[in-house]
């Protein structure tokens, strides 16, 4: 491994009352890597994302991004440095047309700076992004109220919102949950394409077949602890994972 890692998580810990949601999790992520995080329900995956993105403050531990300590910073500060996320339960502006949802990240200081003060045509940028996500540009879909869109579209709109920020690191929290097979099939290559273009991706997913196809490396969480890490095939054959994960639960793939 050469040079500084993009993201370095050291001994991150979070309690909720008596429950240790994340227990001394450490990992490193290199620029351009595609990391998968799996684990049974309640194993702390979403909390880990919330800790990295600043929505939850850790009890102890440290998150370093591009050499800077971002532990416990405000979510907008962290997002402003290029860590963008999607939400497991999509968080969108349902009273706005779909493309207007993207105006929010597009009008953020970060994007303004990246676009070099170039103003205007933001609606076009938004519609372009949505077009990439499979909202046909010439249909009425990008202009419909977000609240009236079906679930699969909402998930992709959430992805578009995250991508509108032009992130370095994209964290996908169960993006595919509730998506139809066809939607997954069209969205997955898109994320692979982003990754191939240099975007670093962390993907939390229960759909293991899709996940294993795209990731370089995965790690497994169970009761807040990292129990295995490595290339998917090896990890899934390790005994700890079999016991904790596959042994105790029937996975829908």
């Amino acid at each position: 491994m050469e040079g500084e890692p993009l993201l370095k998580v050291e001994k991150l810990r979070k309690h909720f009352g008596g429950v240790t949601a994340v227990h001394d999790v450490s990992f490193e992520l290199r620029q351009g890597e595609f990391l998968g995080i799996i684990g049974p329900n309640g194993s702390g995956k979403t909390t880990l994302v919330n800790l990295i993105t600043g929505f939850v403050k850790p009890d102890s531990g440290r998150v370093t991004y591009l050499g800077k300590n971002i532990t416990g910073k405000m979510p907008y500060t962290i997002a402003g440095q290029g860590i963008s996320r999607t939400f497991q339960m999509v968080r969108l502006f349902y009273n706005l047309p779909a493309y207007k949802n993207l105006i929010i990240p597009l009008s953020s200081p970060r994007v303004k700076k990246l676009r070099g003060g170039e103003y205007g045509e933001r609606d076009d940028v938004a519609v372009d992004l949505l077009d990439d996500m499979g909202f046909e540009r010439d249909s009425f879909v990008p202009y419909k109220m977000a609240g009236s869109l079906p679930h699969g579209y909402l998930k992709r709109l959430d992805l578009a919102r995250a991508m509108a920020l032009r992130p370095n690191l994209l964290i996908l929290d169960e993006l595919f949950s509730g998506m139809a097979m066809s939607e997954v099939a069209s969205t997955l290559p898109l994320i692979e394409k982003f990754n191939a273009e240099g975007l670093t991706v962390i993907m939390i997913e229960h759909r293991l077949r899709e996940l294993f196809r795209v990731v370089d490396r995965i790690f497994v969480l169970n009761f807040g602890e990292k129990i295995a890490e490595g290339v998917p095939k090896e990890v899934m054959e390790s005994d700890a994972v079999k016991n904790a994960y596959l042994g105790s639960e029937i996975e829908e793939t």
Partner: protein
Amino acid sequence: MTGIDATYRKKRLDRGIKVRSDSVFAISSYREILYLVLPRVVPVITLLVLPLILKGYWGKVLVFACMYGLLALSWDFLASCGLFSLGQSLFFGFGAYVAGTLSYYLHLTPAITLPIATLGGGLLSAALLSPVVRLRGVYFAMVTLMLPMLLMKMIEATGLVGGSHGLSALVPFHNEWISTYMAVVTFLVCLFGFRRLINEDYGLVLKAIRDDDRAVMSAAINIYWRKIQALFIAGAVGSFAGAFMTHHYQFVGMSAFALDYSILPVAAAALGGPGTFAGAALGSMILVPLSESLRALGGLRIALYCGVLIGSVILLPEGIFHYMERKYHQFETFVKVG
């Protein structure tokens, strides 16, 4: 549908508002132009002509309505970014006292005190409320409800800035025409300015904060700073109203922090239809004259006033303006069935 031949049926067609106002249709004929322009021009002309017609007492009521209108607009602006305020009197009182003290101690004229009080009141409001912008909903409302009372008691207890007697014999407006038109024009500018602002990107972000603040945060926007900006804008508008009324009455007292200034704007916005600004403006243009015209009834006035409010909220919960807007964009015809 009794009274109508049973073979007829009401057909309602919602006009594509976007189609008619966004594209070439808007200038395709003078009917279309009027359709777009009239709802904006009629209230403007009405308000500009009214001061010429209304004299004396009712002229003062108009000014009063404009000031309550400003408070209601300021309330609606805060509400549009998810800050539900029950303390419009805080803004009003800040403006009133800044203008009052400047005028009383330094004998400054309204031309100087009004801008200072507007900006200063906005700054004071934003500064005082900035620690609580993280609060949402009823918690923010409670803080804003308490603050004016707290300030009122502090003035009473310490006797500062006039104490319970207030400051009187302040510098009046030179000319009643100028002051009346200043009230009306500020009200109109604020109304149309807010309506424009809320549809710009800036307002879009504010509305998004109301809908889902976490999603806005994950879009790398500092929501607390935006809320403080919104507090400044709303505070400045409310403070202008306070400063204006101070010079209008040539007096400022603890009543500037009175509950009336907090509750009536909320009532006006609820009556007119919140979230549109026009509703808040319309609401205050109805409520203030109504309240004044009921004055002849003495004790029953407040009871009747409340009755009207309750009735309107039950009968038209969406608010008058939402209803009017919907009807304006609709065609209703009777078509023959079969």
